[in-house]
Subunit: 66 residues, 2 copies
């Protein structure tokens, strides 16, 4: 299965992880989301356009950097 992994900044705690997870999980077609606080990454089990991830991350209050 193809994955999409993006790096973001601004997450500092478990609450942040929960917020990003919730927003990214809300993207159409995304069924599996893993957010890693230590590395600042969010991985979707499904391919997902960067624009949609960026919008979701912004909605959660963080910033996509790569």
């Amino acid at each position: 299965m193809a994955e999409s992994t993006y790096t973001l900044k601004g997450m500092t705690c478990g609450h942040c992880v929960a917020s990003v997870t919730e927003e990214v999980a809300g993207i159409e077609g995304v069924q599996n989301v893993d957010v890693d606080l230590a590395t600042g990454t969010v991985t979707s089990g499904e391919p997902v356009p960067v624009e949609k991830v960026a919008a979701a991350v912004t909605e959660a209050g963080y910033e996509l950097v790569s």
Copy 2:
């Protein structure tokens, strides 16, 4: 009006502030709560026993240090 101010550690973001505020606001007799992320302090508008604040802060996932 007498206030109670306590210092805690572990808060890193607005979500943390919200969690601490919610728990301390739930203490009997507490009507006004101000949590300052920059200083790591929580102030109650009413006098409140340290034991109750410590329990609330622990419940929120943080630690009372003074």
